[in-house]
């Protein structure tokens, strides 16, 4: 017999579903049935349940969604995600836990005394003996939801709109709905508005006056051809990636600082930002884009997994010493990862299932922890990203290494030398074969987090490592408390270090001796005090100091004699003797600097660690681990992954990424197609762009959304000769911006406002205030100041700070800031004193879409900031230059530069008057502040 079972869903979606699954424990229960003699359910158990449980836990809308009037309800459990009964296993049965008051905060029945021991014993025995429930023993839990976004994407037929040929399918879907309401599109926007609108949306930059003029001309002849050419040019522009990367970074709240107490800078985290820009510009297929961000380390795009550590985190150093606080902090970091993946790639609020089953969506607490098992090898930190052979950074790195080697060769002709790699020093000397190496310091104190020894044969093999069998010695009397000697060759960088100190009154200085297991040829050492800091952070005062003085390196020869192979003193003498060495070394150190900017260097794009076992944390607390779980996607969406329980972290992430990007996944394509729509039309078809669950909004045009999702995965329209690639974001964007819907006027029509004031049906293009970046970058472009170079280290507007101090703005308007705002260092929760007021996110929480608010602070910043005053002057200067002293021409030029149009008579008159009485600067200042400048036409 089967039974109908209600999973919690909004009422209109509730469906009666017939169960199919037979869980293992159920089979177990059957085996135990014969032992249930003595307990009669109807006589012994049902009255107890009725008396103590069913008041709340029965019927249609039970408390905590726990149904105890059906056996399947008890098997499934409620919001806490624990089965209320596990037949045969009272110790795993949540109902038995709560009637025993195991959790002082969750005692059942509530507000009553504990049940009599006899009753508890009876219920426990009943569970132990298989939870016999006559007539319901074959009922099983069925979980499938009827929610729209979990259903497979099917391609709806494009509606036929009479009288329209070659209609963009997007318009067909939109018009049908408009026609249903007796509405229609507005007339096309004028050419100037079209070029401005599409330029802002695609590249985040205003078109230049010249480009605008040219477009208006060609549009007059062949509007569609001109427009499509324009769209192609904009999509091919490298500024396209800069604009669209920003949208993606918003969702995952990517920033270059940790947040939390010291809000430290994340060194080289920007290489992930550049990866995103590059991916958009190259039109990387979206499935590949997602795959790389989850498992890019397996395919030579190691920087892409910077995605996983985009959110804020609390570093261990500021969590405190309590072990429980440290466990909690790790769980919080895992939660940030799951929020990122859930919000950006799945459109699901996964984090809601951290403490109990999701209240609205079929995501169980077990799903949450199974998903956390996928990412158990990820930690917030730095590593050398894995880069493919043809990766631009790797190619550049090889070029630079070749140059470095050239300089090294020159230096080697005159003797040893020491290179400055900022975080560590690297000493080179002629190759020598030995089994023992001694480093002796000339200072009374030396602190070393790691000392590495290399040879010419295996260039990257650190021979000093304890794991290579190398032994270390140092004089016992010089030992500094809490600084074990083993820390010098344990392979761990950071504050855990060895330190040696001369004994009081003794002239003997600290030294360390390394003895290899066998003879090795060696030619260089790397030495540092805290190399980790240099790998992970930057812009702190007092970084990269070396707590050791000059030193010498000696090796033991066959005769038991120590021979010096290099010393800092000797190098100084050599430099004095061969003057050219200094210049060569300087050049070499510059190349090293360059390498850290342009080549593959340690970058805050996640650290990989060994995965530990994953458990369901009861009530979300790491202090109460329950059942072990294994890496999986959402059970509701067939998330079981083909993995062995002991799969490596990489294998887990690869399997998960494949599940996520499978063409059958109902969410992936829908969520991204909708997100692209949101950024183009200002509002998603699903307005809750990162929540496609039951708490989110329903699609305004469900068929259009599904058609877009289907078209995204399998393009059907041949726009050119070549076959259109799958998952192309540029393709989908082109479809959207070439629609009539996008190209129509934004002016209001009174009869349509009455029907659809919010323009949800798109009877006009809805205007909106532009984002902080667009306003800023367009100002810079108008003044001709914009440095259009793509990528690289972020420009700085903040101080170099002390460890526990705050960042503050030092200069947010000077020439070094004249790059696009996506390159402004993105500090969590720091006010940039300019554009934060324009809803620029604080990067604390995911931001699938920005609110668009209006505050007087925006007005003050845009009227009075040094940035605007300075830029106004530059625009005026440019206009004056272009107009040879003709003031009227100069005023017109200001309007062109900022608004790509000429002033009308009234505007010209007022502006000219203003320019004559005061200056042209303030005309520009006024235009920059105007609504026309700030709103999408």
């Amino acid at each position: 017999m089967s039974i109908s079972f209600h999973f919690y869903l909004p009422r209109h979606n509730r469906k009666t579903i017939v169960g199919l699954l037979i869980p293992a424990f159920f089979v177990l229960a059957l085996c135990h049935q014969s032992y249930a003699e003595g307990i009669d359910f109807d006589r012994d158990i049902a009255p107890l349940l009725k008396e103590h449980c069913w008041d709340c836990h029965s019927g249609k809308d039970p408390d905590s969604k726990l149904n105890l009037d059906r056996r399947v309800g008890a098997l499934r459990g409620g919001d806490y995600g624990q089965p209320a009964i596990v037949p045969g296993k009272p110790e795993k049965s949540f109902m038995i836990d709560v009637i025993n008051h195991r959790d002082p905060e969750l005692k059942m029945p509530p507000d009553e005394k504990k049940l009599p021991q006899k009753t508890i014993a009876l219920l426990t025995r009943w569970v132990k003996e298989g939870a016999d429930w006559p007539g319901q023993m074959k009922d099983v839990v069925e979980k499938k939801s009827g929610h729209w976004s979990f259903q497979p994407v099917t391609r709806p037929e494009v509606p036929f709109i009479s009288g329209k040929k070659n209609l963009n399918p997007i318009d067909a879907f939109l018009l049908r709905k408009l026609h249903d309401k007796k509405l229609g599109y507005s007339k096309p926007a004028d050419a100037r508005s079209q070029i401005r609108r599409v330029s802002f949306v695609l590249t985040g930059l205003a078109p230049t006056p010249e480009a605008t003029e040219a477009f208006i001309k060609s549009y007059a002849n062949e509007p569609d051809v001109a427009y499509e050419k324009l769209v192609k040019r904009l999509l091919d522009s490298p500024h396209f990636g800069e604009r669209w990367a920003q949208h993606w970074l918003d969702v995952i709240r990517w920033a270059e600082t940790n947040g939390s107490e010291s809000n430290m800078y994340r060194k080289n985290a920007w290489i992930y930002r550049d990866y995103v820009i590059r991916s958009f510009n190259e039109d990387k297929s979206y499935d590949q884009f997602l795959f790389e961000q989850i498992a890019g380390d397996t395919v030579g795009a190691g920087e892409a997994i910077g995605y996983l550590v985009a959110g804020p985190h609390v570093p261990v150093a500021t969590v405190g010493q309590e072990p429980s606080a440290r466990r909690q902090a790790r769980a919080d970091r895992m939660d940030e990862i799951l929020q990122t993946v859930g919000a950006s790639a799945m459109g699901m609020t996964i984090g809601c299932a951290r403490c109990h089953n999701h209240k609205f969506d079929p995501i169980s607490i077990r799903d949450y922890y199974a998903m956390s098992a996928v990412f158990q090898d990820i930690e917030f930190g730095s590593r050398f990203p894995e880069l493919a052979e043809d990766h631009p950074r790797r190619v550049r790195g090889q070029e630079l290494y070749r140059l470095i080697d050239k300089h090294r060769k020159i230096l080697s002709e005159t003797g040893p030398w020491e290179e400055n790699w900022t975080g560590y020093r690297e000493l080179h000397f002629p190759s020598v074969t030995t089994q023992s190496v001694r480093i002796s310091f000339q200072s009374a104190y030396a602190r070393i987090d790691e000392l590495e020894i290399f040879g010419p044969l295996e260039r990257d093999e650190n021979l000093a490592l304890a794991s290579m069998g190398t032994k270390v010695d140092s004089p016992e009397e010089m030992k500094v408390p809490r600084s074990g000697l083993h820390k010098i060759n344990d392979g761990e960088y950071g504050t855990e270090a060895w330190a040696g100190k001369s004994s009081k009154g003794s002239k003997e200085k600290p030294w360390v001796q390394f003895t290899f297991k066998k003879l090795h040829k060696i030619n260089r050492i790397k030495i540092s005090t805290n190399r980790l800091e240099n790998m992970q952070t930057d812009y702190l005062t007092g970084m990269n100091r070396f707590s050791f003085g000059p030193y010498k390196v000696e090796v033991l020869d066959d005769d038991g004699q120590w021979n010096q192979v290099a010393s800092i003193g000797q190098i100084k003498k050599l430099d004095h003797k061969h003057k050219s060495r200094i210049a060569t070394l300087k050049k070499l150190n510059e190349l090293v600097e360059q390498l850290s900017e342009e080549g593959p260097r340690p970058s805050f794009v996640a650290q990989l660690i060994r995965p530990v076992k994953s458990h369901v944390f009861y009530r979300g607390s790491p202090e109460t681990p329950r059942d072990e779980v294994f890496a999986a996607g959402l059970a509701e969406l067939n998330g079981k992954l083909p993995l062995k329980p002991d799969a490596s972290g990489k294998e887990r992430r690869v399997a998960f990424a494949k599940w996520l990007t499978s063409p059958d996944h109902p969410l992936t394509a829908r969520v991204e197609a909708n997100r692209l729509w949101h950024h183009i039309f200002g509002k998603g078809i699903v307005t809750t762009t990162s929540d496609f669950g039951a708490a989110g909004a329903l699609p305004s045009h469900p068929e259009l959304l599904d058609w877009l999702a289907a078209e995204f995965k399998t393009p059907s329209i041949n726009q050119s000769e070549r076959k259109q690639q799958s998952w192309s974001m540029k393709y989908l964007i082109r479809l959207m911006v070439t629609s009539q819907a996008f190209r129509q006027s934004s002016f209001p029509r009174i009869e349509c406002l009455a029907e659809d004031a919010d323009s949800v049906l798109l009877w006009r293009f809805p205007t909106r205030r532009m984002a902080a970046e667009v306003i800023r970058d367009s100002i810079l472009q108008s003044s001709g100041s914009l440095d259009a170079s793509i990528g690289g280290r972020s420009f700085r507007i903040h101080n170099v700070k002390k460890r526990y101090a705050q960042w503050f703005v030092t200069d947010n308007y000077g020439p070094h800031t004249w790059r696009r705002m996506i390159y402004q260092e993105r500090m969590r929760r720091v006010d940039d004193q300019m554009f934060t007021a324009f809803d620029f996110p604080d990067c604390g929480q995911i931001r699938p879409k920005r609110p668009i608010s209006t505050t007087p602070l925006q007005a003050l910043n845009l009227m009075n900031s040094e940035f605007v005053i300075d830029q106004s002057k530059r625009i005026a200067d440019l206009a004056n230059q272009d107009s040879n002293g003709d003031q009227s021409a100069a005023v017109k030029r200001c309007f062109e530069l900022l608004l790509a149009r000429k002033p009308n008579e009234g505007e010209l008159k007022s502006s000219l008057n203003l320019a004559q009485v005061h200056s042209l600067d303030i005309v520009c200042r006024a235009i920059i502040n105007s609504n026309e400048f700030a709103f999408l036409p």
């Binding site: 929540d691 909004a697 004031a757 604080d842 879409k849 505050t855 005061h918 005309v923 026309e932």
Partner: protein
């Protein structure tokens, strides 16, 4: 800020019932309201709050997000002053009298955790200052805060507060935003989002930061999180106006006015193409408000009209330089409240970049010195501020909150000279409108180590603050990323016992 779901996910059901739709015309506010109703079809039809209470969504006029709005229910408090002391004030050395500590001074604590925030604990330490009975209620308060001690008859103490973290930034986040994590809206942002403000020439929410800088959570403490930027605290103090408030030096007043005139012309012409557009009109209005703020903020910052006796009472003179600056911030607080500013958040301490324990209340070492330094700055001006508010009748409609992120341990840290963090018990107090006076709620254990009687979570505390402002913490929500978010997450109970 016209996101459909933000304006209408649930409120529209109520609106429907009230038949608003029929009455909606096409005036500017009509469009705004119509847009609130437009997406009926596109939203799920079940309430999506965990508590299943229906949210009360503030009806925000896009033309002026700061226009005053009704509270959920009538309460005396219309404004709120939060005095925040970053770094964790030691409750056992100030307001939470524990004679047992004196009795067992120097002994090993009987209840001893293996490790606290910074490491292993040391021996029990008696209070570093003597306690005496104060006022008519005889409340025991230490000599560290003699001025505040005189006013205890007006205060309502919470002695059994507990928090979820023993790290400062997370603790500050928790107290001020209701979450230990980053990025949630602050109490002040929630309050102004709900209530707007009475005065239309000053910011609705002012954050007066310590002269030494921002506290450890920085902007989080007064940020808007995912609420619209309009509801963030405006950051200025008696010394420094908000950034970009004043017209640049190189511009004459006349040139500045002329800019505004040209701007008006440009905007008026543009608006003719978009008749009735509330967003455009709202942006125009924001420039008018900015213009008013350019006058009203310097006026409110100008303390020259304050009487000598006020200057003296607040301790502007005769103390440390830091006290003088903090005292001026206290006077500024009163002036802002007088003008009707909805939320004033006043900080007494910053991040610790100046050295451990010197820039805030964090006293891991040498608590005798560091707490004394902080108290010298905080005590007299704060006491004078509260007395001044009372004397001027402002306390009748102003809630005052004095808060810190956690307490300090009853034993020494290591066996040093300071106390480590104690998340298990700490003290904050309220006074003013709607609050029971001369009352203490909850008790910590005999050591001040853990909350014992009526343990009170930060959620409860914040729920109570909102309640005192006439707001139901379960119904003041904002849709963000799948949830109707609240200041109190899914927790919190209003502590009825402290209500007057």
């Amino acid at each position: 800020m016209n996101n459909a779901e933000n304006l209408s996910l649930l409120g529209r059901r109520m609106l429907d019932r009230r038949g608003f739709l029929q009455n909606t015309g096409l005036s500017i506010s009509g469009i705004a309201l119509a847009s609130m109703l437009a997406s009926d079809d596109s939203l799920a039809d079940e309430p999506k709050t965990v508590s299943s209470k229906i949210p009360i969504r503030p009806q925000i006029d896009p033309k002026n997000p700061y226009s005053p709005r009704k509270s959920h229910f009538e309460m005396p408090a219309k404004q709120v002053l939060v005095i925040y002391c970053p770094g964790a004030v030691s409750h056992v050395d100030t307001f939470d009298y524990k004679p047992t500590l004196t009795k067992l001074h120097g002994q090993k604590p009987p209840i001893i955790p293996a490790v606290t925030f910074e490491g292993p604990p040391g021996n029990i330490a008696k209070p570093f200052w003597d306690f005496k009975p104060r006022g008519e209620t005889g409340k025991m308060v230490s000599d560290l805060l003699p001025n505040l001690a005189n006013q205890v008859d007006d205060f309502c103490f919470f002695h059994a507060l507990t928090t979820d973290t023993s790290a400062h930034p997370q603790g500050e986040n928790f107290m001020n935003t209701g979450f230990t994590m980053e990025g949630f809206p602050s109490f002040g942002a929630w309050t102004t989002y709900a209530l707007g403000t009475e005065d239309q020439e000053l910011p609705a929410f002012v954050a007066i930061n310590d002269p030494r800088g921002l506290a450890r959570s920085g902007k989080n403490n007064f940020g808007n999180g995912f609420l619209p930027a309009a509801f963030q605290g405006t950051d200025f103090n008696a010394k420094n106006p908000p950034h970009n408030l004043n017209r640049p030096r190189e511009l004459s007043a006349q040139a500045d006015r002329s800019t505004v005139d040209l701007l008006k012309l440009l905007n008026a012409q543009h608006l003719t193409k978009y008749p009735g557009d509330a967003d455009l009109a709202g942006r125009i209005a924001s420039y008018e408000l900015a213009g008013k703020m350019q006058k009203s903020i310097p006026n409110v910052m100008d303390l020259t009209g304050e009487t000598k006796s006020t200057i003296k009472a607040y301790g502007v003179e005769g103390g440390s330089k830091l006290r003088s600056e903090y005292a001026k911030n206290c006077i500024l607080s009163r002036r802002l409240l007088e003008k009707g500013v909805r939320v004033v958040q006043l900080f007494n301490g910053s991040d610790p970049s100046g050295g451990n324990g010197i820039t805030n209340w964090d006293s891991h070492a040498n608590i005798a010195k560091t707490h004394a330094m902080q108290a010298e700055i905080m005590d007299q001006p704060t006491a004078a501020l509260i007395a001044d508010l009372k004397q001027r009748g402002l306390l009748d409609h102003t809630l005052v909150v004095w808060a810190t992120e956690f307490g300090r341990m009853p034993f020494l840290q290591g066996n040093g000279t300071g106390r480590d963090h104690n998340p298990g018990a700490f003290t904050c107090f309220l006074t003013g409108a709607g609050v029971k006076q001369g009352f203490s709620y909850g008790e910590s254990d005999e050591f001040g180590f853990k909350a014992l009687v009526n343990p009170t979570t930060v959620y409860d505390f914040n729920a109570t603050l909102l309640h005192l402002m006439g707001l139901d913490h379960e119904r003041l929500t904002f849709y963000h990323n799948g949830l109707e978010r609240r200041l109190t997450n899914v927790h919190g109970h209003v502590i009825e016992d402290v209500l007057a």
